[in-house]
Amino acid sequence: MKIIKILLLLSCLLPIALFGQVQKVVSGVVSDETGTLPGASVYLQSVEDKRAWDGIATNINGEYLLSIKDSKEYEIVFSFIGYRTQTILYKGQKEINVTLVSDSQIEDIVILGTQRDGMGMDTKLTSSAIEKISLDGLKDMAVTSVEGMVQGKLANVDIVAGSGAPGSKMSIRIRGTASLTGDNDPLIVIDGVPQSVAIEDGFNFATANEDDFGTLLNMSPTDIESITVLKDAAATAMWGEKASNGVLVVTKKKGAKGAPTFQIKQVVKTGIEPPRVPMLNGQEYVTLMQDAIWNSVRDDQFSSISQLSQYKDILYDPAYVYFDEFNQDVDWLDYIRRTPLSSETNFSMNGGGEKVTYHFSANYLNEVGTTVGEDYSRINAYMNLGYRFSDKFNISSSFSYSDGDRNGSVQNARSLAQNKMPNMTPYILDEYGNMTEEYFVQPVSTIQGPGNDKTNYYPRNHPIAMAELSSSRYAERNSSMNFNFTYRPILGLNINGTAALTLKNTLKKGYLPSAATGASWDHKNYNKSEEHKGYSMDLYTSLNASYYRKVSRHSFTVSVKGEVSQASNASQWVTTSGNNGLELSDPTVGGVIRDMGGSLGESRSIGVVGSVNLNFYDEKYNLEVTARTGGSSNSGRNSRWGINPVFGLNYNMQNENFLKDVEWLDRLIVRGSWGYTPKGASGNNTYGGIYSALNEQYYDMGALIPQSIQLNNVDFEKIYQTNASIELGVLDNKLTFSATYYIKTTKDLLQKDMSIPSSSGFSSIAWINDGSIQNKGWEAYITGNNLLGSRGKDWNLGFNVNVSRNKNIVLDLPTNLEYQKAEVNNGKYANKIVEGRPLGAFYGFDYVGVYQNHDETVATDINGNVIKDINGDNVITTINGHMQRPGDAKYRDLNYDGIIDQYDIIYLGNSMPILNGGASISVSWKSLTFTSALHFRIGQSVINQARYNTESMSGQSNQSTAVLSRWRYEGDPTDMPRALWGTNFNSLGSNRFVEKASFVKVKDLTLAYRLPSTFVKKLAMKDIRLVLTCYNPFTMTNYTGQDPEVSLPNGFNNLAMDNSLTPNPRTFAGSVTISF
């Protein structure tokens, strides 16, 4: 007890003792124009390193008192939120009174000219291809994803939306496809932290697909400040082999010094679909089916005549028990379409004082699709705090959380609706023939009865039940923490460190109720449920040091960066059937487990980058050398450490004496760079020879098998990139122009899971190196900023146009002929990679119309003479052994042998555009701003699979009204073949369905109005903006499908196909933004 008393006493005396050391005191009053300022902060700061010492807040009368130690040189800093900070050198004054000036008169600080890259280099001095876009000017667009915003805005960054369904991922290709591994997505770096894109090993693609993953997708564009694209070898030198497809560097918003600004934004939007393909009505469908069956019965000489009366649902038979049910006229698509109403709410807070800056935002998005059952919701929260200890040392940390949740139906309800027979009722009819609310389950004996069990596709599936009851949900939850410090111990030396932790949980859940499939209770698809859960954790740290020194007219920068990353992931999945409903579809509740499994994986990598940038004669000539070495646990020891060098030259011509006098010229830079990137294989431990237990015994003896071959020979994929560009800036850099030419060659292409002869005992090998491809092209953009305006003028104009061309060529064919498969079947295209042709090229037959009569089906040789067989009879053209008949599709017989086979396949075009790009314009007059954006892709082809589905007339699916012109009698002037039930070859993969899909889209029309500031001030607000915007209003195209914007295929041997997914709707939105 005593001791405590003594301690207490001592602690009371302590301040007095300290006070005793004080030698000097300074006091005064802080005020502004209107009077004294209570609560303003006043503190001491050392002159040497700007480190803060003692500090105090002014009292109610604006007075302060500071004690000062003698030992140092100090300055006194006066600051208050909303006011400009004042710093006064302390020279022993007893009293300092200051008047602070209000901040609102201060113009935004605009940093011009000195953009800096990831290594701390001024972009004016770098030799690499960099393009930057600020998202601020795009904030009013009615899109929810970052990709959607920057689509068409960046040169040679080809962004394509595959589907208009909410929450769909867009594909991104920077300078084309350069790899056969299917891994062509760019690396995304958020605030200096590369995001892992790896899908965990053993991922079960039966229950999830790649489209579900998107780093950008789950981010709210409102949190992003700017995006920088790195396109060339400098990108890989900076970020390693993962960056070989280019890098998107995302910079998120940070707190800024100033009074706290609160902003609330509310968006409401709706959408309209583009016009759809007209389908047959009930009667037309029935006629078509009868026609098809009759043709097939006649073809096989009436041996299958019973088929004519087999399907009562397409006959006029009032005695049929479902006569009424199958004499309807239903537009199925109408039942599953809707006019959506979506909303987005955004709140943000930004501000900061002398020491601390902060940014906080929260965003909630609820997007409803035009198809029933499709929606997407997203919650984002983001917080950034910066603390400045001194001019030499500061830290910042951020935390972000996102939760994206996408819903859809298990099977595409749209294609089900499109295929469904229009003469059938969707609901059970009551005794008076009126529809009830209960789904009508299609009887098995009907024409659209049970389908092919193997493909898991049932024509009987009910489109409306599928849309309304089935559920396919994908949810992704991301949390990331990011810590960063900057330390500048001496002039010119800058040390920067980052540590980041990202946690991700994914959940994919599907439920397929029997109401939608009609599956009986003992079927494996009866109330089927699938669940896939994934967890991952990524840890990333980096340390970066750069030193800058100027020696007379020359200067240099040396930087070194080291980074370490570690990622681990786990997943598990289970498929059950026989569940009692969506909520009860958990495997623990009941149901039969059909499939289950899990996976675990870990990967690690290390990278070290060094770079030297030498500048001569006032930065006129610049030489840049960067080298990186890195290793990853994904590669074996034999090919783990590769050196990744980049050399670049940069010539700032505007610094030349002879150009000094040209006043209008601000920038004329010529750049050139060359780089080499070794890229290793991806995936966890794919290089190791693995032994595992066999799930089978020989009698009672367990067995072990070698499961994969150890890869000692696999080398890096070698990427060589050459880049040359010119940049021009005139009129105070208000108008800038840039043009770039590049060649990117990939040699020793890595190929995954390559088939090898089975004499090895293995069916495939995980990786081999083989073949080479090249991408070359150019990109150009011109940007105008602040063109008409200057201070005080009413008008302002800004614009951007970018055009790019990428040409992809296969230089060396991979020596494996696995890619040369030709299949002669409806809807099938030859799978080929041909030297001198691009990847993604289409090969198929040349469709030349319809055989009008028997004579035309007779095969002729090259001279037009009829081919005779051994018996002297005319040879009839055959496909797969089937003789062609009048009304059948006619394909060009290139080798004149009377057989349409793989020798008659020709090149039909490819899915790579000749040109792509975009344009945007922004005009403002006083407080009214109009912006518009275009996006175009020209010269690419796609397979119109949707048209194949609706015009092939070979199954029992409903068809489009185009088939009303089908061939029926000799002389019919048509090139639409006849309807034919059963085996036919009337819709082989041919140029009939390959279409040019060039388009120019007006992506955005936006009108924004800022309320007059006098009026706003009266409401005690800072700013109020009203925006009306329309996304995707017009498309100019000759393409016959609903939307020529067709997603790029994932793998290199997949083809670009328009599968009639939900088209991108025209979206209309209105928003209000209030700042205070």
């Binding site: 431990n685 190791g688 237990a693 066999l694 002869p757 090895s760 005992g761 494996n816």
Partner: protein, 506 residues
Amino acid sequence: MKLMLKIKIIPLVLLSMLLGSCNDWLDVEPVGVQTNKTFWQTKEEVEGVLMASYIQLRKSQDNMLMWGELRGDGLKFGPGFKNQSAEEIDRSNIRELEILPTNRYSDYAELYKGISYANHVIKLGPGAMDYDVTFTEPLMNSYLAEAVFLRSLYYFYLVRAFRDVPYVKEPYDTDELDYRVAKTSGDSILKDVLVDLKKYSTKCKPGYEVAWQTKGRATSWAFYALIADISLWVGDYDTAIEYCTKLESGSFELGEMEDWMEVYYPGNSKESIFELQYDHKDLDQRNKLMELAQSGDGILIISEHLNDLFLAIDLTDLDVRGYDWGYSNVDKKMWKYIGTKTNVMENGGFRRPSDESSPNFIFYRYAEIFFIKAEALIMKSEANIDQAFTLLDETIRKRAGYRKPIARPSNQADAIRLIVDERLKEFYGEGKSWFDILRVSRVDGVGVSYLKDCLLPHVPTNKRQIKNNDLNDVDSHYLPLHEKEIRAANGVLIQNPFYKKYTDNI
């Protein structure tokens, strides 16, 4: 100078140490499996891979059976065969000689997996002795011998079905070995296989402590049977006879007539030399063989030809392998795989219990040794015909129930044809018929015409003329290499010339 050197060396040493430890840190071992680094360290691992090679025999059984029976003369498609699924269409295409390089039965991948596992054991297994002190040399030799036996057996089937195939004796544990391997002629493969077999036959155990293993794993007796069979195939009749004689010193015996069915149920009988093991009841290992025999109305049933052979016997004689005994007279199903007792008529027959759908697939049983010996004797000299048939009369035919000796043929060709007929009666459904026909078609006086007589009745009448011409080409007697193999080997594997026309277009 010294100092300068130090200054230069120290960072280098530090750097290499750093990189070295980084390299270790980057070696992430996968979870739940073993890698090349940690495997081959215990005898259990060696035996585990060896067992995988046996399991591969099961997976190859469908191929082996169909190769032997589809073009053979003993079985035909029953009413259970719908010719609808891709598998069934492939089967009927083989039977009707419409064989394309896309046919699943020209895919030999499963057999090569078995070969690969055996190669792994042979090459890498001995290394485990360095780690596992309980792994003795005799045990290792015994494992090696089993692996050699399995590899030889696989190649014997491959050569009989394809003639020339890639001959691989190395394991692909790393990608340093070229996996694109050209074909080796069937003759030289079998020659080399015989050398290996003779070398290892003495190292194999004559039996195992566990009963099923003595029949289900390779023994020195299985080696002798295989050597005799291959020798007969390559025409080395002295060796065939020599090894048949060696088997007489074993404890094998043909049972009594009444016990004939015990060969199949419960199996592993006194005459069994090597058979592929299944156990349905306890281990849930079913054999598709039973399904083939009984599914629906029987997918494979007794052909008219075989039925006629059985019907041709003297009324005073009896054959337990024939109708109402070995197969059902009513629906011609192979009773040997369905039933438990010979007399099918008694109470509707004794069927295998529902939990025993696991008849073993028999590779060698003692009965075949007599046939091999008899055929070799005849092939050596016409003078041995009587000796050969006396052997069969006293063993095979006696056990089958015949009381009278068979009439002695006058020349070698007739004798050989008679042997093949007798073999068919003994081994129908055991995957041997087509190989017998193919083997003897090379005998003077039997010739390709014999082979045509067997094959052409399976072919639809309108195609018989073409197929008749085709069969003059010996290449057509062998299967094509599967197109995926040709593709994956990128020009190294040459298609059987007869099927060239199908392969050119890829």
